[in-house]
Point group: C2
Chain length 200, copies 2
Amino acid sequence: MIDFWFSIGSTYSYLSVMRLAQVEAQAGVGFHWRPFNVRAIMIEMDNIPFARKPAKAAYMWRDIERRAAMYKMAPRLPAPYPLAELERANRVAVIAANEGWCAAYTRETYRRWFELGEPAGSEPNLSASIAKAGAEPGRVLRDADSDSAKIGLAAATEEAKALGIFGSPSFVVDSELFWGDDRLEDAIRWLKQMESGPPD
Amino acid sequence: MIDFWFSIGSTYSYLSVMRLAQVEAQAGVGFHWRPFNVRAIMIEMDNIPFARKPAKAAYMWRDIERRAAMYKMAPRLPAPYPLAELERANRVAVIAANEGWCAAYTRETYRRWFELGEPAGSEPNLSASIAKAGAEPGRVLRDADSDSAKIGLAAATEEAKALGIFGSPSFVVDSELFWGDDRLEDAIRWLKQMESGPPD
């Protein structure tokens, strides 16, 4: 089992979110979906987001476009960025993780964000993605605005930070941290090596 | 031909510098070594180096260690960082590129930096690496302190910036930019696809 730490709002996470089901089936590896608030960690660490870095942002979109093509995905780029409602998107994800529909919700919200241009965390994306995952939007949205949902997201973020996580997506195998969609295959290799014998 | 843009002083560039000769032989691809001053670009873009980011720095060293093992390299990590004499190291590289001994010098200076713990750009690494590449250290070091060497490095850096480069290593194929040692295989695929037919 690999812990998949992600924040809805992260651009590169689109690639992982959309290919994880296929990777799971092909590699025979399970993923535990762990939403957290990467923005809170980035602000604390003074990691400046792409939004304030034109050269890096231009590169990022082109890089995502090339990688998406490699995976046979067809996003409309650039997607709306940054998200106005990043926290709400991830509070819903924490509720979804507790209730067992996190992967379905996250995939749908990213699909709508990157393929239809509807920002995640805002309407109409938010309710549609909750409904698509089989939950009731009205109830979930009320829960998502509760103190307990805010505490849930903050606690997950503290847990991520304690693991050394500073970006999304991150993959954790045992206590080994892999950052970025482009390290997913390394994480899988690490897990298989762990399972097949003693570490070298 | 792929343009290999690098700055001595960049940690991840160690991986590319040390494996490029083998990649060149195996993939049948030529590389044009283009030293520039990544620090000048990072300062201008307000890209904060790893030295001021403890969580990212810890991750970086571990990531380099894992990737180096994958490539059968054996660095002693962490290497001394950051370099005090980054500019001098790269002024020598610009001279070396003009005179045809850049790859040999850069490989040796990285080997000494990452495998013996001798900072690049400073003695004894600097003279030993120049000599190993077949040049005369006294003459090269005098040239490296000249205005013309300073202008040469600044001009290369402006050229990098105009290409959209903001980090080292970067690979440029035609006008397509790939950033990071982990994008080297993508750059090679891009080149081969370009050579094999019209782009899609």
